[in-house]
Symmetry: C2
Subunit: 178 residues, 2 copies
């Protein structure tokens, strides 16, 4: 799976590069580890944000954090830092012999073509598979159209659908692999 | 549902009162609103932590936050601040005419007596129903034994099960109501 910080949308629908949130890395790495995700790609082209990701991982991998909480270290060890989605695709192609099928997620998906049942089937059949999650107000439109599959939004109860990316990742991994 | 900050455990299994985390309130309120939860009780006996909760709610309810993000306001409006679980039970008894059935959650549940299928049935039949979630390293043992039901832990893939409370709430609400 990949957590994309660029290109994503701000609240007005403009394309931005979002800042990295430490708790996104922690919560999503823990969920990824719980559900057996192979690699958690953190994608940002901004070098200062890349430095922040390295500091967070380093603290828990070898510093006081590793002694304080070894479970956290096991989760954050799934993270691979990448500048772009293209670099993620190259990395997976090198590792698996061919590139992944990609699944874009969004709460505002207008033309979703993949149900959660379809996602479960895909998880059994398509190897490798890459789930794409957007920070801020979600993946930019070109990320949605370029993906092989577009997952239907999570439906709760009623019209309100403003989950955090941390919650959305947790629910989607559980529906797919739980 | 209730997010309990006391009595919960620290990493050594000692009973503590945990600090309130702003992001817990935001993420869990958004998930609660998405899944149609009636009230999100935030339970802490510490007056400085109660003040913090009031400041967070106030910022998004009437300050610059309300203008910036009205969706957030709708979610945080579900929060009711309470000093103890007993006060929550009293509040629900007053509202519904009788107290709730309670369901304790824990990743370390040794004697879970409620499956997720059972929880879905309970959600349809038992009104009112109160889900209990612990911060820090989870609900203290007496909170588990005093509850009417103890929900089986979330099983992922393998032995690793260290979800954040934000992830656990999201997954449990989705399995119960999604």
């Amino acid at each position: 799976m990949a957590l994309i910080h660029h290109p994503v949308m701000d609240k007005n629908g403009e394309t931005i590069a979002a800042a990295v949130t430490a708790l996104d890395l922690h919560d999503i790495a823990r969920a990824a580890k719980t559900y057996g995700v192979d690699t958690f790609y953190v994608v940002t082209p901004l070098t200062d944000q890349q430095d922040l990701v390295r500091r967070i991982i380093g603290h828990w991998a070898s510093g006081a954090g590793a002694r304080y909480n070894p479970d956290r270290q096991a989760a954050l060890a799934l993270i691979r830092l990448m500048p772009t989605l293209a670099a993620v695709l190259d990395d997976m192609a090198e590792k698996h012999g061919h590139g992944p099928q990609t699944v874009a997620t969004s709460a505002q998906m207008a033309d979703g073509n993949l149900t959660f049942a379809g996602l479960r089937d895909l998880a059994r059949q398509a190897r490798p598979l890459l789930l794409l999650f957007g920070t801020a107000w979600g993946l930019a439109p070109e990320m949605l159209t370029q993906a092989d599959h577009r997952l239907a939004p999570i439906a709760g109860h009623g019209d309100y659908n403003h989950l955090s990316v941390r919650s959305a990742v947790s629910i989607i991994l559980d529906r797919m692999l739980g």
